[in-house]
């Protein structure tokens, strides 16, 4: 998953003249080529449109969910094109195999892959377009291209003559595509590495940005569904008479996902849904309880499982042995925009409007639901009101497609907040058992971990558990433990409590780094060492981990005195190709209430496309991680989810927001991901600070302030 694709195809470009004049350039990425029907076929993967009025439009196949991809991708193009940034616009592409994400091999946004996957191909597209504009200008001037340079949307001849890209667009479209598009060296970057303003901000401050819920179609009906209160349950009888009596309700439809009420507008649909009288068969999960899940996972972690990494003999004797069991709960994503999709099934074709992270796979899935070929499914990606992995799932688009197919009308399916919270796509619960060994001098000699959790790979529907039986996502962040332990063993015990699990910001790292970085702190304490120095001493072979650890410690003033009552904790992690260390400064009240004063973060994400977006994404992930660590938990009782809305699934609010500092380490490495890597070190830095403050080691999330109360 983390392989960086290195585009090296020579003849990857083709051009076509725009109907209205101008230059349109597309290129084929290997991800798309892998799926292409015939070798040598050029299906365009992304486009640059230069119009005669100097407007440059970058058409982006990736979903904008706050991570800034609709700014970062145009920056990559604009840099090599030598464009005038103020003339750049971005446009969302429709779903098309040509826009496949080169890392996934399908059109989808997630896994912090966008910049990693498109770093080189997007720049090559810009560079090729630039070369063609130069060639067109040279031809017009009867000059050598070598005597021409480009700057801010102009080709400039050494004599001082200038032509704008718009003036050259028509002629450039007739130029042959260069075989090799030479890329700039990083020292010549004018746009990359600088804090360009986000292109989506203006529409997001005046209410005009259109999210999935904002789609309005003529004749559209709104659907609200009653879903089984227990996962896997089924409606055995439905009395719809009261629902039909609600003014505005037009139809009640039963589909596998539940019972839907279709109406004119949300309020009538919701009133109708609430008036349904349904008898449910709760099915196999009727007795599901969080206590049962914890017990099942703890048994797995104690028993052991498939071996994911084994070096030396982790069971070797040691002067001192520590053992600890950690636990993390199921979590909901709680995106601000509840799940929704608008679908219109017409004869032979389907049109979809949705905030989705997986428009590519949606074509195949929804085509199957509607009975049309994937290329007859037109997917319009709207702005996403938060994604965090949740909008990778197809549940809401499938149900909306069925409802449109059955009703024959365009249907907007809306989950209420409660439906969204209870929709069973959760970050897996997990229990991990560690054993660590220290020699008489406090030096670590052995480390073993057994992680018990459901398999996300199997749950995804597009991955399979590998032959070794180790789910890659269940063990990520622990299996790749960077510390210098001579004897090390990591095992995975798959346990399936019957809950649909799903990707959640930073995936397995979200809980596993809490586990391992807390346990490392336990080992440091047992060794009588400073937790920062202890880690540092074990990272001699890991310069990038060590670099961010040192930078965060230095910027936070590690070891220096703090205000009375405030304590520090530290943690370091690598995920999605980026390295992040965080220091949390925390105080704990007599009532056990935890206050986070400041988080200092150091990040090495390789070369930076937009440092301001990098900082904001790290801060965003810190807030998301803090919400989860302090409050996040989805629990089950008698098969039912106990949480429903923001009163019983609280998230961080303005008055709890700590100061956040993000320091970016200079790097010439290829870019890493940035949407997720800020999250994993937050929970352990926080828990380690709480240990420093109270002497209490928290091994279960969310943090229970009752546990921290001073007698």
């Amino acid at each position: 998953m983390s392989t960086i694709y290195n585009a090296s195809r020579r003849d990857f470009l083709k051009t076509s003249a725009l109907a209205g004049g101008g230059l349109l350039i597309g290129f084929t990425l290997p991800g798309a080529a892998r799926l292409a029907q015939a070798a040598g076929e050029f299906s365009p993967n992304a486009y640059i449109r230069i119009s005669t009025d100097n407007q440059i439009t970058v058409i982006c196949g990736l979903s904008e969910m706050g991570q800034g991809v609709h700014t970062a991708i145009p920056m990559l193009v604009a840099e090599e094109l030598d464009a005038d940034w103020s003339k750049i616009k971005v446009q969302q592409a429709q779903a098309d195999a040509a826009f496949n994400n080169p890392i996934f091999g399908m059109q989808a946004t997630g896994g912090s892959t966008s910049v990693r996957g498109h770093w080189e191909p997007m720049r090559k597209a810009g560079a090729a377009a630039r070369a063609m504009l130069v060639a067109a200008a040279a031809e017009r001037w009867k000059a050598s291209p070598a005597d021409c340079r480009t700057e801010k949307g102009m080709v400039v001849h050494k004599s001082g003559k200038k032509l704008s890209y718009g003036q050259l667009a028509d002629a450039a479209a007739k130029q042959p595509v260069p075989a090799e598009a030479k890329l700039k060296s990083a020292k010549d970057f004018r746009i990359l590495g600088k804090a360009a303003k986000r292109l989506d901000t203006p529409a997001k401050v005046n209410g005009s940005a259109r999210f999935g819920l904002d789609v309005r179609l003529p004749g559209m009906l709104t659907a609200v569904m009653a879903r089984p209160p227990v996962p896997g349950g089924k409606a055995v009888s439905v009395d719809e008479s009261k629902a039909r009596a609600v003014p505005g309700v037009t139809q009640v439809v039963q589909i596998p996902g539940g019972v839907a009420v279709l109406a004119q507008g949300y309020w009538a649909a919701k009133q109708g849904r609430d008036a349904l009288q349904i008898k449910w068969d709760d099915g196999a999960n009727a007795a599901l309880s969080s206590e049962g899940v914890s017990k099942m996972l703890a048994e797995g972690a104690a028993k052991g499982g498939a071996v994911g990494r084994n070096e030396g003999d982790a069971a070797a004797p040691a002067a001192k042995k520590l053992e600890a069991v950690y636990e993390a709960p199921f979590l909901a994503h709680a995106c601000m925009e509840p799940m929704n999709a608008t679908v219109w099934v017409k004869p032979g074709e389907v049109e979809v409007w949705a905030g989705t992270q997986s428009q590519g796979p949606s074509q195949g899935i929804l085509g199957q639901v509607a009975g049309v070929a994937p290329d007859k499914v037109k997917v319009n990606t709207m702005y996403l009101g938060g994604g965090f992995g949740r909008r990778f799932a197809p549940d809401f688009t499938i149900d909306a497609t069925l409802l449109s197919k059955i009703s024959g009308k365009p249907v907007q399916l809306i989950y209420t907040r409660e439906d969204d919270m209870k929709a069973y796509f959760y970050r897996p619960a997990s229990v991990t058992r560690f054993v660590g060994g220290l020699d008489a001098g406090g030096k670590p000699v052995s480390f073993s971990a057994c992680i018990a959790s459901p398999s996300l790979m199997e749950a995804s529907g597009f991955m399979k558990l590998p032959a070794d039986g180790v789910d890659e996502m269940a063990v990520e962040g622990i299996r790749d433990c960077p510390y210098d332990f001579p004897n090390l063993r990591v095992e995975y015990a798959r346990r399936e409590p019957g809950v649909q699990v799903w990707f959640w910001r930073s995936v397995g790292h979200s809980q596993n780094l809490f586990f391992i970085e807390s346990f490392i702190d336990e080992m440091a304490a047992a060794a009588g060492k400073d937790p920062y120095e202890f880690r540092r001493g074990l990272l001699g072979k890991q310069p990038r981990y060590k670099g961010v650890l040192e930078l965060a410690a230095q910027k936070a003033g590690w070891g220096k005195p703090l205000t009375a009552g405030v304590h520090r904790g530290i943690a370091v992690a690598q995920s999605f190709g980026s390295y992040v260390a965080e220091v949390a400064e925390v105080s704990v009240g007599k009532d056990g209430k935890v206050k986070v004063h400041r988080v200092v973060s150091a990040v090495d994400c390789g070369m930076t496309v937009n440092p301001e977006i990098v900082k904001r994404q790290i801060e965003s992930a810190i807030v998301y991680g803090l919400s989860a660590a302090l409050y996040g938990r989805i629990t089950f009782k008698d098969g039912k989810v106990e949480q429903s809305n923001f009163h019983d699934y609280p998230v961080l609010r303005m008055d709890e927001m700590p100061r956040v500092e993000v320091h970016i380490a200079a790097s010439t490495e290829a870019p890493g991901g940035i949407g997720e890597p800020g999250l994993p070190p937050l929970a352990p830095a926080l828990a380690n600070a709480i240990f420093a403050a109270t002497g209490k080691r928290l091994r279960k999330l969310p943090i229970d302030s009752g546990d921290l109360k001073q007698a």
Binding site: M65, R198, V205, N206, G207, R210, L384, M654, D655, M657
Partner: protein
């Protein structure tokens, strides 16, 4: 029929009196800038002004808005405080996913209408009811202070 004043215009709607104002705005009037987040006045995404006061439109029956001045995000550019707030939001590049930002801007402009120099505690009190899952709170705080400063210099317009 219920007669409403929305952004200075009189409109008549046939919705039942208990319909939340949010859905009258979004579904009946097609004004989608005001967002649905929770339906229980817990998240603030649906914040609008009623006679200048911030209210959660998801939990305000349309009948309660009759006879009052309803102001939504769509009218903020035409209001001196709203314009200053939007300019500060752009300057600080506040939004990420952007979904909560209509509510944040409505909350911030109501605060600044009533308190032209809010302290951190004032900002906490006015803004803690409006959730942002992208975690833009520090940028919101900075933008509110910036807007306050711009207004004090007469730079609101």
């Amino acid at each position: 029929m219920i007669t409403l004043s929305v952004n200075g215009k009189k409109v008549s709607v046939g919705d039942s009196p208990d319909t939340p104002l949010l859905w009258v705005l979004r579904d009946t009037l097609g004004m989608t800038g005001t967002k649905f987040g929770c339906g229980m006045a817990l998240c603030g995404a649906c914040t609008v002004h009623l006679d200048g006061n911030p209210v959660r439109s998801c939990s305000t029956p349309v009948s309660a808005a009759a006879g009052k001045k309803i102001t939504t995000i769509e009218a903020m550019a035409g209001n001196p405080v709203g314009k200053a707030v939007q300019a500060a939001w752009v300057k600080h590049d506040v939004p990420q996913c952007g979904y909560c930002q209509s509510g944040q801007i409505m909350g911030a402009s109501a605060l600044l209408e009533q308190n032209s120099k809010p302290s951190d505690a004032d900002i906490d009190a006015a803004m803690s009811g409006i959730i942002c899952r992208c975690g833009t709170y520090n940028q919101i705080r900075a933008a509110i202070k910036d807007a306050a400063q711009a207004m004090s210099k007469g730079g609101a317009a």
